[in-house]
Amino acid sequence: MSGRTPNQKAWWLVLPVVVLVAFNAVIPLMTVVNYSVQETFGDNQFFFEGVTWFEQILHSSRFHDALQRQLLFTAIILAIEIPLGVAIALAMPKRGAWASVCLVLMAMPLLIPWNVVGAMWNIFALPDIGLLGHSLNALGFDYNFTRQPFSAWSTLIAMDVWHWTSLVVLLAYAGLSSIPDAFYQAAKIDGASAWAVFRYIQLPKMKRVLMIAVLLRFMDSFMIYTEAIVLTGGGPGNATSLLSIDLVKIALGQFDLGPAAAMSLIYFLIILLLSWVFYAVMTRDEAH
């Protein structure tokens, strides 16, 4: 039934977006690609190196370690934040004044600048004067996130969970509120248990938003930098040197622009690949 007259002028409307994307994505990316195949010693002198930097990085144990830490970190925070977010969303009131109050409270951590989050947790967790650090030590735990890798990891994860679980809550809550009352009424009349309501009504209806939540949390946690660098600076030693932190150390600490550029690209490709895998797996069901 369709059959609109094509109007070529419409392409001009796309132009601003094309220009914008070119400036903030394509051009910087191409610069990085350019650096990644060359060596420089300053003075704007460049020597072509081909894929040397890529080979070097892919074979370096430092990169492997950072990648492993990164994967572990992401896996842990996904395993905590997604179920926790869903649980909180389920427990929130569905309507009325309290629903708005809860939503505002939930949104607060998301509104705090990332470096402030890092600084807050740093002070909060300081073993001598921080409320958390001091309390833990007073309770007999041997806690010092600047010295012990385990403490550093726990603090980092606690901070991320505090900062980002809200996002999952908000998305899950949106998914839940799209379920018409009739579904709950029907379930009541059908004699369904609370678990059955969750399994057959709430979870299927939340599936789409949860997919987005997982994808967003995956990408963001994989790229975490600001909060972590402010909190632990990658330490103690290299214990919390996640990929992004390591990358900055190479690029700006050692000024190895070539290897850093190559590492950036590899990092970028890993995220792209994993995101795609996630997406493909999660949407597989809907294909048929």
Binding site: M1, G3, T5
Partner: protein, 362 residues
């Protein structure tokens, strides 16, 4: 004051090799309703969009008031359209909704006020002008949409099933009003509907449409009483028309295993052979006592429906389903056997190719 109105000359639409609209040659009546009658997806909306200029025909020409407008863009044509969904600007008051086409046309304040006032009066919206569409009933929302279509005095007004989404009482009220609303307006009105009763009550002219083909166009009651073919007759029957295969032999029509009746008047001249006998549901009446002139048959009730003041019964007669429609409320038990009278004196007869070859009225 006869204007030529809208004329479709060989209008045709093909998309990707598929024919969506078969060539149409129709000169619409400049006064009264031009009704497009056909089931869902028959091509009514497509035809309307061709008339409006929203779609470009593959072939053919569109003439309006004696002018070829085939290539003229919609905006330059003076066309107004009302849809099945109540389409209004939710953030504007009823007044602003109605005034919007005039604002686009840069009419003066005073003129807008006067014209909106007049139209609101006509559509009984005057007390509601300050409200938002969401605060109105479905009928009032559709009146607002109608007012917006009428306020700009377009030469061609297209109404695409405007009553379909209303509850039946509101539908009834607005349907009664429509002829009055359009009575003094100098515009060609096209009205699409799936309901034969709506077409009949609105009067005017009707084009029956079947799978992208205009099967007949003429004065509404003519199309209803003298259909050109089986398709046109079927489009104009709800509940569906009874179509029974009959055999004409020796001056009589035979309905296999059931009955036979004499071929009277003009029908006697038909050559012997198979025909389809079309009997509208109200020609099949439940029989309480004797059959006065009608042929008595007995069938098993399959479906019985009551719609306020009418009863519709589907019954099974030797493996074929027949439908009876009668006035008043009569309850039937499904599965029971009941007697019906077939008033064959008012039957339509169709040749095997679908052409209507005669009705007892001729």
């Amino acid at each position: 004051m006869t204007r030529p109105g809208l004329e479709l000359r060989g209008i045709e639409l093909r998309v990707d090799g598929q024919t969506h609209i078969h060539p149409v040659d129709v000169a619409l009546a400049p006064q009264g309703f031009n009704i497009l009658l056909g089931p869902t997806l028959a091509g009514k909306t497509t035809l309307m969009r061709l008339m409006a200029g929203l779609l470009k025909p593959t072939a053919g020409e569109l003439w309006f008031d004696g002018r070829n407008v085939t290539g003229v863009p919609v905006r330059a044509r003076g066309v107004a359209m009302v849809y099945q969904q109540f389409i209004n600007y939710g953030h504007l008051s009823v007044f602003e909704n109605i005034a919007s086409p005039l604002r686009v046309a840069r009419a003066s304040r005073d003129e807008i006020k006067a014209r909106v006032g007049r139209i609101a009066e006509l559509l009984q919206l005057s007390p509601l002008l300050d409200r938002r569409p969401a605060e109105l009933s479905g009928g009032q929302q559709q009146r607002t949409a109608l007012a917006r279509a009428l306020v700009k005095d377009a030469g061609l007004v297209l109404l695409d099933e405007p009553l379909a989404n209303l509850d039946y009482k509101l539908r009834e009220a607005l349907r009664d009003e429509l002829p009055r609303i359009f009575a003094d307006r100098d515009c060609t009105v096209v009205y699409a509907t799936t309901e034969p009763t709506e077409a009949l009550l609105l009067g005017g002219h009707t084009a029956t449409i079947h799978e992208g083909r205009v099967t007949q166009f003429g004065a509404t009651s003519d199309v209803y009483r003298r259909p050109a073919d089986l398709l046109a007759a079927r489009a104009f029957s709800d509940p569906p028309m009874n179509c029974a295969p009959v055999l004409k032999r020796g001056g009589r029509f035979e309905l296999a295993d059931v009955t036979s009746w004499p071929a009277e008047r003009g029908l006697a001249a038909l050559t012997d052979g198979p025909y389809t006998c079309g009997l509208r549901p109200h020609r099949v009446q439940p029989l309480a006592g004797g059959a006065d002139g009608a042929i008595r048959v007995e069938g098993r009730v399959a479906i019985a429906e009551i719609s306020g003041s009418e009863s519709v019964v589907h019954f099974d007669l030797r493996g074929q389903t027949w439908v009876s429609q009668s006035h008043g409320v009569c309850g039937y038990d499904v599965g029971a056997t009941a007697a019906f009278g077939l008033d064959v004196s008012r039957a339509l007869y169709f040749a095997p190719d679908g052409r209507c070859v005669g009705s007892a009225e001729d």
